[in-house]
Symmetry: C5
Subunit: 361 residues, 5 copies
């Protein structure tokens, strides 16, 4: 119970942490999810790929000087000195740095002219509780580079990295904007992956629903509904971001990449629709649960009524013939007792016929 009862705190905990903090100071907000930030660089063009683990931020300058698309990936955003150095290296607006460090941003796209800044979330399902956890992902697109920040070392973009290494698909022959698209596409694909266990929980709940009407089921349904609502609110701005990128408002996005962004946009719509259908399914589950409660009660009531209707008249008769009146002629009839049983059996048989007719039996 206690865990559930902290439902609201989940949405509020970090909120009040940020409240009252002045804007404009670089400060890390959120949990420290990795010990030391890890920086890795990759430079590629159609012909070659070069990867490097970066120990000192200053090494990046060498990397950036090379031709080809550069992708710098930083895992861990809590060391502010590193963030500040990166900011200098890439000439980032201080507000971008603050947003990267404050890991409670809503998904948004900001156009700073020379760079595009996208901040969004990567979802993961906590197996034990079924809760959806999320990490903040920040993506910066420059003319020929992409910088990606995530809160911990889980390599969300492993498949993209792999394809760059292997030179499969288009990624090697296209620009940094296409790389940004591929990263965003991974995030959208991740929505599907997070929906799948949710769907399984829903199916599982629905099976239990009609078997066991325990009142603990309803809060579980509402938990899922809430996760879906939370997810919906998170996916919605991604839709806007992709639509705005696709409309080609920034010169950093080439026409060629836009067609692909439209594809990712379509996927996001698809995710939204699936979430809506899931929410609708859960609303149906609530009603099914309530009606199954009603139905059970009906069954129990019918049982009770049948029993009472059957035995109350018979018990009454037994009571009558148990009375102590001096003159009760039937008591002395030779077959009085047999007759009594006969009367009672006839009544009982009549009841059974009646209940059958009423379809209660």
């Amino acid at each position: 119970m206690t865990e559930r009862a902290q439902g609201s705190r989940r949405f509020l905990r970090k909120l009040s942490q940020t409240a009252g903090l002045p804007p404009g100071t670089l400060v890390h907000i959120g949990e420290k999810k990795v010990e030391h930030p890890r920086i890795s660089g990759i430079v590629y063009d159609a012909d070659r790929v070069f990867e490097q683990d970066i120990k000192e931020v200053s090494e990046i300058r060498v990397l950036l000087a090379q031709p080809g698309v550069k992708w710098i990936d930083i895992d861990g955003v809590h060391e502010l000195t590193i963030l500040e150095k990166l900011g200098e290296e890439f000439k980032l607006h201080p507000l971008i740095l603050e947003d990267i460090a404050n890991t409670e941003q809503r998904t948004k796209l900001e156009d700073y002219g020379d760079v595009l800044y996208v901040v969004t979330r990567w979802f993961e399902l906590e197996k034990a509780s079924g809760r959806i956890l999320s990490d903040q992902i920040s993506l910066i697109l420059g003319r020929d580079f992409v910088v990606s920040f995530s809160e911990k070392e889980a390599d969300e973009f492993a498949s993209v990295r792999q394809r760059i290494r292997e030179g499969k698909g288009r990624v090697r022959s296209m620009g940094a904007d296409y790389l940004l698209y591929r990263l965003l596409d991974s995030i959208v694909d991740n929505y599907y992956i997070i929906l799948e266990p949710l769907g399984e929980r829903m199916d599982d709940l629905e099976t239990r629903l009609l078997e066991d009407a325990s009142p603990k089921i309803l809060p579980e349904i509402f938990d899922i509904k809430r996760e879906l609502l939370f997810l919906r609110k998170s996916v919605w701005p991604m839709r806007e971001i992709l639509s705005s990128l696709e409309r080609g408002e920034s010169p950093l996005i080439s026409a060629e990449t836009r067609v692909f962004l439209r594809d990712a946009y379509d996927h996001t719509i698809h995710v939204m629709e699936t979430i809506d259908i899931f929410r609708d399914m859960e609303s149906g589950s609530v009603e099914t649960y309530l009606s199954s409660l009603s139905y059970r009660q009906n069954e129990v009531m019918r049982m009770l009524t049948i029993i009472a209707t059957f035995f109350l008249p018979l018990t009454f008769l037994a009571g009558v013939w148990g009375m102590n009146f001096v003159t009760m002629p039937e008591l002395k009839w030779p077959f009085g007792y047999a007759l009594a049983w006969g009367v009672m059996l006839v009544i009982a048989a009549g009841m059974v016929v009646y209940f059958r007719k009423k379809k209660w039996l």
Copy 2:
């Protein structure tokens, strides 16, 4: 139960299949619904019709060189080499080919300048389960040709083909854009055809609803509601496509055809409205079901109360006269027993009058 409990998987199964796949690689996603793709061509103008079964994709070139409107119909999209050859023949953008092969597209219209690409779905009702199944239909409109792709051999467009052969109606005297309209119109008509068995299931359910309040009915209602929601989400973008074609944004659509597209648009609106009314009817069914549960319970309760109210006082009296007190004068009265029955009958009659007054009997 198990079948129902996989409700969510139905929407998710294919989703996670596509997730993680890189864009830009031609890959078939979906079931293989036909053994070998079948290609057929038809060339027509006001005066003549020529049909041909195409074995080799290269034969298409000869067909395209002829005057008149060309319609190439491909059943089966899983053989990628064929798709690639078709792509070369018609000079299609690689993204079109990918969308054709990935049979999980949302309904959409894409304008590639020289061709219009429409991808949508053809619905079919699986008789046994009452599920709505769907195949992907891709339509490509060029200046003087239409290419149509479907996942299997079911000839969705048989009636159009027939009319071209017979030269009935306008189709022979108009261009490829009118042919596209006729194909889209078949798809919209198909919505009506899919709604009809759904409506029958609804009527059937409603009849059962008031007769038998089994808790299995509610999930069935929600099944239908979900199918309707799913259908609504699919029809909605068709409305947008027809509206956009009708506004004449593409030079491939002639003014003459636009008036007809407006007609198809009106039909789509009609389908949407019918779906909305159906959804409203199902919501009503849920409430009817719940209230019929309540009503039944009321009836059962009333029965129980009548029986108890009738027999409890009588049984009490019988119990009183069955007590073993030494001095109970009435027991020795000559007509004591008759009197006892009299008292009990009077009470019983009073009960009946009371219940009648309360309209319980």
Copy 3:
């Protein structure tokens, strides 16, 4: 039940009739509601009125040649040869003729440049079933003529005709656009007339609702809700038509007439609002019904509980004193029996006091 259970078929029957039919062929869809079409003409200006029953379509040519506003009214749209001749006479686009003959159109306005074509529906309440029936009305406005088509002979526009004859009001001194307005206004007024019996049925249902909680009432409420939804969907496009005419997008509508169209537009909004309030009332009725079921059950339960609480203890006591233990001293007390009654009466009185305190009696 069977009648209700065909609720969905009502919306679908004609739908599937039209599905699969090729556009562009003149074909009558719908019931044949009149034996032979009847055509009547009326020519008027400020000074004179001339009426004529038209046997042959060609007679219309003479009529049209006269000065003044011409109104041709056709009852019955199933004879296609007549439609075709009229089409030639008025030079109508073939699509207009098809829409006139296919009596399943949604309400819409189409601007063909030289003529405006409005298709809408005239509602009637079928007394017996309480169903709203509807006929299709087609109106064509030319420079100096109006052609009106209805499916049967019921003269929907009798009052307009009467005023033209009598020369009352403005109609005689204004143009054909004002005549169109008057016809549309009759249709909007008809909405009010159809709402009145619906309102009466609602009031009637509400009275029965609290008296008799039969489960047949709920489907009746949903019937009305469905009729209202159906009506709403039909009135909505009329609002758009009037708004579009009033904005003066067509040169056929004079500025003077526009002010009147705004009036009709206001009435349509009023109808929409009334429908919304009615729908809200019916939703309230559903909840009232459900709660009255609950309340009744409460009453029945209370009755049962009172009876059981009253007699179970007394019956127990009677049972105790009916036991056959050899040594039960009270049985031999001279006033034992009287005492037993005394005890039982005291308990009964205590119960009454208790129930009074609980406000159950």
Copy 4:
């Protein structure tokens, strides 16, 4: 019941009265709420005020010739000859006169170039029934005059008149547009005044709700919800009117007055919000009512179950020892009877303990 059951007629009665009536004929629709129309004039500027009771419409001409702002107030709109004369005096469009006489207009603003015509409603609460009654108010703004029409003599604008007389506030030093604003502001203030008794009825109902779950309460709640819906639909167009006046689309409204109109607009929004909160509160009341029914039933059921569970086993035991078997050893034990009581008391005590544990007692 009968009164409630006429709920729908309230919205329909007048509707069908107007239906079928031709536009363009001056005819009074509505009740005659005052015997004779009363006309009063007031002329003012910063320095002086002059008031006059007008017997003959022609006297108005003299008044209008004077310098300063003129306000003509007419109570009673059923005498058409007076309306016609006023129309001539102020050169009003015939449609304005018709709208004034037909007291069933929706709130609207019409711009006739030289005059602005506002028609709206003044609400009053009928104490006895709690119904909201309304009168139509028509306001005409000219360059230097305002004409106001109301259906009866209740001086809705008494406070404005008083302030003009006393020269308080800005009204005397500003133009006719400011006077119009002041009149509209009185109407908006009136919304607050009408909401107050509604709010009291709501509070009153809520208090009764949990005390007494009579099924008569629910229809009362729905009555209030309907009044609120009705009010909402009436206030909504006032919002539009004020917004449109404030945007300064008419040259009759000075920039100075616009700031004040924005204020009135804000108040209207506030009223809308309060209505929304009230509607939300009533929805909550419905659920509270339904749950209190459920809760009561639970209580009654628990009572019944406790009684039955308590006495059924004891009665059974008494029945057993009342059996007439020849050999029932315990019956002959010296302390058999005492033992029987002992057993029964132990069982009873066990029950009490059990119920306590279940928190039923």
Copy 5:
């Protein structure tokens, strides 16, 4: 109960206070929350800070003449003479003064060209009742000054003041527009702070919900829902204000500050979303409550049915063997009594097995 039952008065009390009051007179509406207004001034630029307690309004003139950003903070708005003097000093439009004094304004932004006027509310939670109280905050932005008014002495902006004093962050190096942003940001942060105790009450309620189904819980849930609705309606216009400021429609807002305003705008959206999720959670709580009522009833009913089904047949048998027929052979069997117990025990055991099978035990 009485406190709750005044729910509506809370929204109405002040409404009717203002109704009927003429616009344009400076009058204080609201409670007097502080004895004497307190005015404090602060002048700062990048290099220095100067603070002053202001006794006489005229002292402000000296302050304003200094270079740097000036921030005048007034606590208490009920002394109209002070307001009037401030109005003269800052050359404020009389409507601004009226809005400051009338503490019932909706949150809004008004652009008077040379100054921007923002009026909004500061929320506080009344610990005892859990009610959200609010004070009106008025902010005026001039070219180089900000004037802030609050109703009482609680220093809402203490943290801003502190940072100015200490010269931390950007505030000292930026203009008056940035100060306005910082004050608005404090107000938005305050939304988070007010949501936290609401969330705790929600969690607390949810814990109690499943333990104790007292009908007092539902009104508490609706209380919270109402607070959330109220909050939502208050936060919504803040969103519009920040969006409008951020779009840079006023020259008083520099481009540099706009980026920060966008940040505050994002926070407001976040607050809105949290409120929506909270509202959704409360709706779920209502359904959980209702279903827990149903579930309890089911449990009680099952108990009753088990008891009745168990004992009614046994009691009947005891009744039969208690009958006084002369010839009842089994009564004389030596083991008749033991047999009777045997029969009854077998029946009882059968019942237990049956109930086990039905999962009732």
